[in-house]
């Protein structure tokens, strides 16, 4: 049973709002007086997940669940899905267009960054959309 649970909407191509969910998460975690490293890792995971939804999908949600011993971040979107998850997990592999790269993203580090900063990660993707679940243990 989650001690805290909240869902945020993330709109496709809404670059101005990118990072807002992560900012919210930081504020929530700071109130809980969690270790700075846990806060940092959770925010990075959340931010990359947000960017992925904004860049690659038709829109989706990020759900934050806080348990006694962990934070779970669930990023769910509708969209074209990830064709080759193994390839997408490779650092530097990106399908992001040039305009995204000009914004400082689309470097092919999103999913690898999520993996590097979480203790558990799972991706399920089909032609209808993608669900990424990541957990950070306390």
């Amino acid at each position: 049973m989650a001690l805290y649970s909240k869902e945020f909407e993330v709109k496709a191509r809404d670059f101005d709002s990118a990072g807002e969910v992560s900012s919210n998460l930081r504020a929530i975690l700071k109130q809980l007086s969690l270790a700075p490293d846990i806060v940092r890792r959770s925010c990075i995971v959340c931010y990359e997940a947000e960017m992925n939804i904004i860049i690659h999908s038709y829109g989706g949600t990020i759900k934050i669940e806080i348990f006694e011993d962990r934070i779970r971040i669930i990023a769910e979107d509708t969209g074209p899905g990830i064709e080759d998850i193994e390839l997408a997990m490779k650092e530097g592999y990106s399908t992001a267009p040039e305009e995204i790269r000009e914004m400082g993203f689309g470097a092919g580090m999103g999913l690898p960054n999520i993996k590097a900063n979480s203790d558990f990660m799972d991706i399920k993707s089909s032609k209808d959309g993608t669900v990424v679940v990541a957990e950070i243990l306390f």
Binding site: A18, R40, C43, E48
Partner: protein, 126 residues
């Protein structure tokens, strides 16, 4: 590794302070330079100053997410938009701009003692 005051950084880079003039006495130990925010997020090193040629709001968001960045320095004489400064103000960041390109700006700070604090040798991925 030396403690360097933000005021000294301003002088070394002949920078213009766009935000946070009152915080220039704060000391920092580390810095990083990147135009790809994904690389900043990927780095596990502690970093207190971010030098970049990217001027959009994602730079501030990235600084917020990383958490330990106190100061953003825009290089090559680039100026951020008002939306970026507004966001940086909310985040309590110091913002400067310098005419130097990224490579030179980083080199000047590094040679003045602002290196990096890392388990990895000089921040290199192994």
């Amino acid at each position: 590794m030396l403690a360097v005051k933000l005021r000294e950084i301003k002088e070394i880079l002949e920078a213009q302070v766009l935000l946070g003039e009152e915080k220039l006495e704060e000391e920092v130990f580390t810095a990083c330079g990147a135009d790809l925010m994904s690389d900043v997020l990927a780095s596990r090193d502690e970093k207190a100053v971010l030098l970049t040629g990217l001027t959009n709001v994602q730079v501030v968001r990235t600084a917020e997410v990383v958490g330990d960045i106190k100061c953003i320095i825009f290089v090559r004489g680039k100026s951020p938009g008002d939306d970026v400064l507004e966001q940086a103000k909310k985040a309590g960041l110091v913002v400067m701009k310098t005419k130097y390109p990224l490579y030179i700006a980083c080199g000047l700070l590094y040679s003045n003692g602002l290196t990096c604090r890392s388990g990895e040798k000089n921040g290199a991925l192994q």
